[in-house]
């Protein structure tokens, strides 16, 4: 029987799974347990629909509706001092429920508090840009689009950032294999030589442990290679120890191993 491979999520899997293993959870606390967070949450709840809120590893996590993202972040920036966007990106949950999770990681420097705003969008759904709230989201949103294909509406320059412009596919999707899909594997060959040269050049060698016995070029003992299977020459005739002229050159005396000195301590 052929082994089942989940094409929707090709991420590496543990080969051993314990049926009775209970996955522990990181401890989550009620936002009311922290004074500052409780206040922030209250001011948010009065205006927006909050789906869930909890404190995880000392940071407040708030789950909102994706339509509210600009309004919520503007409110947090202006009313709750979260003036700094540390990070934003997406998480791919397409294989599980056909959704992306977008997170915005915020910092309030005055209060020394960090919080995370999260929302979920469907696969083809776009999200509104937060460029007007935090300018720094410019590149972060581009990176999100590049890596996941999440389209951001009204972004000033919605283009790929890390991958080439004509790249096919979005590398951080769980459907995208680690060594790239077909277009990725032949990207350079197709571009430089053309598709018809795929057979001539051949696929890229990715096995780092592979040894070509006929290859005498890339060998450890350069200049002293022996045929495959033959005994290595233990003492090669010529060993180049020094590469300097016999008498040295102008201003530089010739270095010899005999005259070298090893210092016990740095000067």
């Amino acid at each position: 029987m052929r082994r089942y491979v989940n094409r929707k999520n090709v991420q590496a899997k543990s080969y051993h799974t314990d049926r009775f293993h209970q996955r522990p959870q990181t401890p989550k606390f009620d936002p009311a347990s922290d004074e500052v967070f409780a206040k922030d949450l209250k001011s948010l709840e009065s205006k927006f629909e909050i789906k869930d809120a909890y404190i995880e590893v000392n940071q407040l996590v708030v789950i909102i509706d994706p339509k509210d993202n600009v309004a919520v972040l503007t409110h947090l920036r202006d009313k709750c001092d979260y003036t700094f966007l540390s990070e934003m990106s997406a998480i791919d949950y397409l294989a599980e429920d056909g959704e992306f999770e977008i997170f915005y990681q915020l910092l309030a420097m005055k209060k020394r508090k960090r919080m995370r705003v999260k929302c979920r969008i469907k696969e083809k759904q776009a999200i509104e840009t937060i460029y007007d709230v935090y300018k720094s989201s410019d590149w972060a949103e581009r990176e999100m689009y590049d890596m996941f294909g999440v389209i951001v509406n009204n972004h000033p320059y919605m283009k790929r950032i890390l991958m080439p412009e004509d790249w096919e596919g979005h590398p951080l999707l769980k459907t995208y294999p680690l060594q790239g899909d077909e277009a990725a594997q032949w990207y350079e060959i197709d571009k430089i030589f053309g598709k018809e040269y795929r057979d001539v050049v051949g696929p890229e060698e990715r096995d780092t442990k592979r040894i070509d016995p006929k290859d005498t070029k890339h060998f450890a003992r350069i200049g002293h290679e022996v045929p495959y299977g033959a005994k290595p020459v233990s003492k090669p005739d010529e060993v180049y120890e020094d590469f300097q002229e016999e008498d040295g050159v102008f201003l530089i005396t010739r270095f010899t191993k005999k005259n070298q000195k090893i210092l016990n301590e740095r000067k």
């Binding site: 991420q11 590496a12 899997k13 543990s14 080969y15 051993h16 293993h21 996955r23 522990p24 959870q25 990181t26 401890p27 989550k28 995880e56 590893v57 940071q59 003036t83 700094f84 966007l85 540390s86 990070e87 990106s89 998480i91 791919d92 997170f103 990681q105 910092l107 420097m109 020394r112 960090r114 995370r116 935090y134 300018k135 720094s136 410019d138 590149w139 890596m147 790929r160 950032i161 890390l162 991958m163 080439p164 590398p171 951080l172 995208y176 680690l178 301590e265 740095r266």
Partner: protein
């Protein structure tokens, strides 16, 4: 468009449109002052930059994708390749993120914490020296470059004595450090930090009142505090705009809450202020290392956290106890299985706020790992900062922002 002939060859790097006197210059990606593979598309009006579009991605290796397909311990040496100027700060940022996810931050032994802090600060000095060297070289001060590299070499030798590597250290492990300090290392370190203040004074002697240095740096690369916040600046770039936010001080990790150090701030908002700030930060780092040397002496010799569920036991226990050997085998072949949850952990790397976001589904492989590399955000600032400056200042500003392409492209 150009019509090339024998007298006027085709300039592939230059598009010159005569009608509106605008020139578009392609800066990089192989420019020595771009500090890596940065391509800048500059629109010039005369010598003034009107528009700048940074283009990155030439060093993209897909580290976040790699992380998803590696167990946590496997990924740690890969983090070296991000900010390769100060590799330990990456290792540490990742290790701390995983420790917080596992909830074992408090289990890390005291000695490991002291060693880690020492290494982090030594890396900060290495990074700042490298920054000053290359920045000064960009602006034209060759001798500063040579002096800085002399001291950097000393610091790198110290790193080499500790972990065997000069650039890609992998000197930190999840749950502690792998090795104790070698014999005589602390004396060498003390020798280094005793000498270093004089060396810093030498650099300042060369640069502080240097007319060229001042003309090239003062009132160049201005960044208001509002813009710095808006564009996600952190570290020295943020503090150079008068905002005293240092994660070591405000959200202390390791033993930073016990140590005495100041957070230098510059409120001139320009490149010269940031230069002074870097110098002051190096002095503070020396102070921290000196305190760590004293703290090291009264610590227990334990180096790794004792959490058998996640972290292998010490070698002698693995070799003598059957159960430790079994656990070690499982941890090496399958990897640790952290709790389900997510964590974002910021640390103060020499470049700024280095954050690791980890989403775990309870598998040995992280479901999502996002690296918040400070240089990425600082590079995006270029499109805002460069317009209005002269072409010659572009190099100064790029050098001054201290960007490293390993962590921008990841």
């Amino acid at each position: 468009m150009q019509t090339p002939n024998r007298l006027q060859p085709f300039y592939e790097n230059l598009v010159f449109e005569k009608d509106d006197n605008r020139m578009i210059i392609n800066f990089g990606p192989q420019h020595p002052s771009a500090h890596g593979q940065l391509r800048l598309i500059l629109e010039l009006d005369g010598e003034q930059v009107v528009k700048a579009v940074p283009d990155i991605g030439y060093l993209h290796r897909g580290m976040e994708k790699m992380a998803e397909n590696m167990i946590y311990n496997e990924f740690l040496p890969t983090t070296d390749r991000m900010d390769y100027i100060a590799a330990t700060s990456n290792n540490y940022g990742f290790a701390l993120a995983v420790e917080r996810l596992l909830g074992i931050e408090k289990e890390v032994p005291r000695r490991a914490k002291v060693i880690r802090t020492m290494l982090l600060e030594l890396n900060r000095i290495i990074s700042h020296l490298f920054w000053l060297a290359t920045h000064a070289l960009d602006v034209g001060a060759m001798s500063v470059f040579l002096y800085c590299f002399r001291e950097r070499e000393f610091a790198m030798d110290l790193m080499e004595d500790y972990c065997g590597a000069r650039l890609t250290h992998a000197a930190v492990r999840i749950g502690g450090v792998p090795l104790d300090l070698p014999d005589g290392w602390l004396n060498q370190l003390l020798h280094f930090i005793n000498k270093m203040p004089d060396n810093i004074a030498d650099y300042e002697g060369l640069l502080d009142q240097n007319r060229i240095w001042k003309m090239r740096l003062e009132q160049v690369g201005n960044l208001t505090p509002e813009d710095a916040l808006d564009w996600g600046c952190s570290g020295p770039t943020l503090r150079g705009s008068g905002i005293a936010y240092d994660i070591r001080k405000e959200e202390p990790y390791e033993i930073y809450d016990e140590l005495e150090f100041k957070v230098p701030v510059a409120d001139t908002n320009d490149s010269y202020g940031r230069y002074k700030l870097y110098m002051a930060e190096m002095r503070e780092s020396l102070k921290i290392i000196r305190q760590c040397i004293h703290l090291y002496k009264d610590t227990e010799p334990q180096l790794m956290a004792d959490v058998p569920q996640y972290i292998s036991a010490p070698k002698e226990r693995i070799m003598t106890e059957n159960y430790s050997l079994m656990q070690h085998f499982v941890l090496v072949t399958q990897g640790m299985r952290p709790p389900v949850g997510e964590v974002y952990v910021p640390t103060e790397s020499p470049k700024g706020e280095l954050g690791f976001f980890i989403r775990s589904e309870g598998d040995p492989y992280p479901y999502r790992l996002k690296v918040r590399a400070p240089s990425f955000w600082h590079t995006s600032l270029l499109q805002h900062m460069l317009p209005g400056h002269y072409l010659a200042d572009v190099v100064t500003i790029i050098g001054n922002l201290n960007i490293v392409f390993g962590e921008i492209d990841r």
